[in-house]
């Protein structure tokens, strides 16, 4: 049993968008549709400004509302690796999963009608490779691995750093962790 998670070290993200394009190429994501995004937030007033760069994707929640809301069992949580995945042939395109996701992680594939999303590149992971976005991440800001393995890089990072998840109050128990506290000196 493994449980795959992603750690996003926001200090190292430079907002280059390589993840977005690599993801689309890897997963044949249709035009104008995306499985991951980059958010740049600037707060403050000139010249006292603070910037946050945050890449977002499906959080592969432990408590996934999209899975609970799926009427056909097309969306499921893989028991072997913890990924939230989609059995495309079962999807009826009712969009309940899209509406129930607090992270806006899903979209309807206009070619086939199913509610697609990030798969953590399960096809790559199955072959022992990192997800495409992690592989191409210029800043090594995205780190992927098995949190059940105490020696994995993600386990090490999460042990050593304060980390947060997106919208913890949603109770979804996300598996994408953010490291952003800048400890200078």
């Amino acid at each position: 049993m493994s449980k795959y998670v992603m750690v996003i070290d926001q200090r190292r993200c430079i907002g280059c968008m390589a993840c977005i394009v690599a993801c689309k190429a890897e997963n044949d994501v249709p035009e104008e549709h995306f499985r991951t995004r980059v958010i740049q937030e600037v707060e403050g007033e000139f010249p006292k400004l603070r910037m946050e760069l945050r890449s977002e994707l499906c959080n592969h929640c432990d408590n996934p509302p999209c899975v609970y809301n799926c009427p056909t069992g097309a969306s499921y949580k893989d028991k072997e690796n913890g990924m939230v995945l989609l059995k495309k042939n079962r999807c009826v395109g009712c969009k309940a999963c899209i509406a129930s996701c607090p992270y806006d992680a899903r979209y309807i594939d206009p070619r086939h009608g199913y509610a697609d999303k990030c798969t953590f590149c399960s096809h790559r992971v199955a072959k022992g490779k990192e997800p495409a976005c992690v592989q191409t991440c210029i800043g090594r800001s995205r780190i992927f691995g098995d949190i059940e393995d105490p020696e994995s890089e993600v386990s090490l990072l999460l042990r050593e750093h304060h980390h947060e998840v997106l919208k913890p109050a949603a109770g979804t128990e996300p598996n994408v962790y953010y490291i952003n506290r800048i400890l200078k000196g």
Binding site: E32, V38, Q40, P71, T72, R90, V92, K95, A99, H112
Partner: protein, 322 residues
């Protein structure tokens, strides 16, 4: 001041959610309407009437229920992106998915309500069913009318609540994510059901019965709507933000403001009209003017029910959980 630049958003979720439209609103409205018809007719058929006129009531109205529900289902079917996969609904039961429960529920409600409708057909008018099979079935169901009414009452409550739970279980959408929403939808469903039966029913006693019931239902609906907004306003940031479209008078949110305005006019007006009806003495045969007033207020209630669904479906997608 926060400046946000997002690269890589999907149009279905950005700038705001856009998954469901009027098709789903129609589904919820018609589902609620059929639920209301079942509940209301069951009440009429199960209660002891003071006058000698016992036996089934509003039998014609009940017959509408399965067809309205099936018609409503057509709208949700049209909304599916992969219609040919619809059979998957019935190869599984997902215990946490309201939509799964709904799909199965409707599959039960349509035949049961149909049988219930047949059971209410009085022997003298059974020939109107035309088909021999139906007449025979009606003969068979006639003795079980009270039992079927009881079951239909339960199913109607289930259906009315379901149309609300479908939305209210989505934490991601704060406007929908309120436990009051299923209660509101159930009340609204009952109210529209009563309104529908007022229009369809022929006997003055029945019409007046539903008018009386509807007074309570409309009153409850108004209280629940106010409580709904009040509760949202006093809840989390997201919930508070979620009702703002209804109270912002701007070009962008005009539809929502207008919906609230209409509700604030239609429901009290219908309530007042019904109160006036109840204060008057009516003969066994109602005057044309009375029937017109009754129907008018019923149409107002039905319109109100549709507006609630439309407004909530669209507005619920504007604000997300923060």
């Amino acid at each position: 001041m926060t400046e946000v630049t997002i690269t890589g958003m999907n149009s279905i979720t950005y700038p705001h959610l856009e998954v469901w439209n009027w098709l789903v609103a129609m589904y919820l409205f018609l589902g609620g309407l059929s639920a209301g018809i079942l509940i209301m007719s069951a009440i009429a058929n199960l209660r002891k009437w003071p006058d000698s006129a016992s036996g089934p009531h509003c039998e014609k109205g009940v017959m509408f229920a399965p067809f309205i529900l099936a018609f409503g289902m057509l709208f949700i079917f049209l909304d599916l992106e992969r219609k040919t996969n619809i059979f998957w609904f019935y190869l599984t039961l997902q215990p946490f998915s309201p939509m799964s429960w709904g799909a199965w529920g409707i599959m039960i409600i349509i035949p049961v309500s149909f049988l219930y409708a047949l059971s209410t057909a009085p022997p003298e008018s059974r020939h109107n069913l035309r088909f021999g099979v139906l007449i025979k079935l009606s003969d068979m169901m006639w003795p079980h009318m009270k039992r079927l009414a009881m079951i239909s009452f339960g199913l109607g409550i289930f259906l009315g609540i379901y149309t609300g739970v479908l939305l209210s279980n989505m934490l991601a959408r704060p406007l929908w994510n309120s436990p009051i929403l299923p209660v509101l939808f159930l009340t609204s469903a009952s109210s529209t059901g009563a309104a529908f039966l007022i229009i369809v029913a022929r006997r003055a006693a029945v019409k007046l019965f539903y008018t009386k019931l509807d007074i309570w239902l409309i009153f409850a609906e108004i209280v629940i709507i106010v409580l709904f907004f009040y509760g949202q306003y006093n809840s989390s940031v997201s919930s508070k933000a979620s009702i703002m479209p209804f109270f912002t008078l701007s070009h962008e949110f005009f539809f929502y403001f207008f919906a609230v305005f209409l509700m604030a006019v239609l429901l009290p007006l219908a309530l007042v009209m019904k109160l006036i009806e109840m204060r008057e003495d009516h003969a066994d045969v109602l005057s044309e003017a009375t029937i017109f007033r009754m129907n008018l207020s019923a149409v107002m209630v039905l319109t109100g029910g549709l507006i609630i669904r439309l407004a909530l479906i669209y507005a619920g997608q504007l604000v997300k959980f923060m």
